[in-house]
C-alpha cells in the first residue's frame, strides 16, 4: 500500500532530528492511521462508554427489584405465527446483524482492491441487512406496545414472589377447567391484560414466603423494565438507523466514482465499516443482558 512508503520517508526525517516543515499539515500520522480513522476509533470508544453506562444502569436497577420478568417469557412472539417461540425472533435479528457485518467486511476488502462494483454490491447488501433489522425491531416494539401494553412507565409482565393460588372475585379459590386449583409457584411469569383501559389485576393467596396465608394483588411488574428496554434498544436502533443513512450516502458516493478518484483504497468505506461493526458489537451486549441473562 501507499501508506508504507510514506511512513519510511518519515523515519528518515526523524533520524535527521529536523523538524518536518509539513508536521502541522497532517504529514505525520500518529499510530500510522489516518486522522479520520483514528478519530472514528475514539468516537467509538466514547460511544462504548455511553452504552456501557446504560447497560450498567439496567443491571443496577434489575438488582434493586425483588423480581424481574424473564426474557424467554416476554420475547416469544414471531411474525405471522400465533406461537410461543421463546427467543427465536431475536436470534433471527442477531443473525441479520452478523450477516450485514460480514458483507461490510467484504465491501472494505473490495475497496482495498479498488474494485468499485464490488464495493457498491457488498454495501448494498449491508444496507439491506440494516433495513431488515430495523423492520424486525419495529415488529418487536409494536408487539410489546400494542398487544402487550408495555410502556415507558407501565409494565404488565410480572413474576410471583412466592407459591400460591389465584382467587375468584368472591374470594374463593379459582379452579382450572379440570377442577384442580389454579396454583402457581415462586418465579412463575405472568402477563396482565387490559380491558377498557384498565389492567385486570387478580387477587392471589400466598402459601409460602413472608406473605404466607395473606391475600395480595399480583400487580404490575417492575416499572423500570419498559423504560430500560425501549430506551436502550431504541438508542441502539437509532445507531442502526443513522448507520443505514451514512452507508447509503457512502455507497452512492462510491458508485459515482468519488472514492476511486481519491486513490486511497476507499478509506471512507473503511471508516463507515468501523462504525457498522461497532453497532454489531453493541448488539452482542444488548443481546446478552436483555435476552440471555
Amino acid at each position: 500500500m501507499a501508506d508504507t512508503s510514506v511512513a519510511h520517508a518519515h523515519e528518515t526525517h526523524d533520524h535527521d532530528h529536523q523538524e518536518d516543515p509539513n508536521i502541522w499539515e497532517g504529514a505525520k500520522e500518529p499510530f500510522k492511521a489516518s486522522y479520520g480513522k483514528l478519530m472514528m476509533w475514539y468516537f467509538l470508544l466514547s460511544d462504548a462508554f455511553t452504552f456501557a453506562g446504560f447497560l450498567i444502569a439496567y443491571g443496577a436497577l434489575r438488582f434493586s427489584t425483588p423480581t424481574w420478568p424473564e426474557a424467554d417469557f416476554v420475547f416469544a412472539s414471531f411474525p405471522f405465527v400465533d406461537a410461543h417461540w421463546p427467543l427465536i425472533f431475536v436470534t433471527f435479528m442477531t443473525f441479520v446483524l452478523i450477516f450485514s457485518s460480514v458483507t461490510m467486511v467484504r465491501a472494505v476488502q473490495e475497496g482495498h482492491r479498488e474494485n468499485r462494483n464490488g464495493v457498491v454490491f457488498w454495501m448494498l447488501l449491508t444496507v439491506l441487512g440494516g433495513a431488515i433489522f430495523l423492520g424486525s425491531q419495529a415488529y418487536e416494539w409494536t408487539t410489546l406496545i400494542v398487544k402487550e401494553n408495555v410502556t415507558m412507565s407501565e409494565n404488565p409482565f410480572g413474576r410471583h414472589i412466592a407459591d400460591g393460588v389465584y382467587l375468584n372475585a368472591d374470594g374463593s379459590e379459582a379452579r382450572k377447567e379440570d377442577g384442580t386449583p389454579k396454583t402457581f409457584v415462586k418465579g412463575d411469569n405472568y402477563l396482565l391484560h387490559k380491558h377498557d383501559g384498565k389492567f385486570d389485576i387478580p387477587q392471589v393467596k400466598y402459601t409460602t414466603g413472608q406473605y404466607a396465608g395473606q391475600v395480595k394483588e399480583a400487580g404490575l411488574g417492575p416499572k423500570a423494565f419498559g423504560a430500560l428496554f425501549f430506551f436502550i434498544t431504541g438508542f441502539h436502533g437509532f445507531h442502526v438507523f443513522s448507520g443505514v443513512l451514512f452507508l447509503s450516502i457512502i455507497m452512492i458516493n462510491a458508485a459515482s466514482g468519488l472514492y476511486a478518484a481519491r486513490r486511497n483504497g476507499y478509506e471512507m468505506v473503511e471508516k463507515i465499516g468501523l462504525y457498522w461493526h461497532f453497532v454489531d458489537l453493541v448488539w452482542v451486549f444488548v443481546f446478552l443482558v436483555f435476552y440471555l441473562l
Binding site: F31, W41, L61, F63, S64, T91, I98, M104, V105, H277
Partner: protein, 145 residues
Amino acid sequence: MAGHQTYEEQKALVFRGLMLLGAITIVEVVVALLAKGHLVHSIKFSEGFGHYLYMLLMIGFSLYKAYFIIFYFMHMAYEVRGLMLSVLLPTTLLIWAIIAFFQEGNSWGARRELIREKNEEIVKPASNSKPQGYLLSGFHLPQKG
C-alpha cells in the same frame, strides 16, 4: 493492513468469522432455552450454582464474540500496538463501574422494605409548638444524676 494477507486468505477469514459468530450465537440460544427448561422439561438450571455457571458461560461467549469483531472485522489485530492500547485500555475502567453500581443496586434492593416503612411511618408532631431551632429553646440536654 490488508497487505498482510492475500485476497483468498481475506475471503477465508470472512467465511470463518461468519461461521464462528453464527455457531456461538446458536450455542448461546440453545443453552439459554435449555437452562430455562424449554427444550427438555426435566432439565432446568435457572437457580443456584447452575445459574451462576450459566451466566458466566454467556458472558464468556459474548466477550469472545466482541474480541473477534474488534480484532478481525475491525482489523484491530493489524493496527499499531499503541492504537490498540489507547482504545482498549480505557475500557478497563468499566470493571470498577460494574462492581460499584451492581453493589449499589443490591443495596437499594436490600433496603426497599425499610424505605417503604419509613414512607408509611406516621410522625407525631412535636408537643412543644413554639417555633424554634433545637438550640434556642425546645431542646434540653438530659440532666445528670
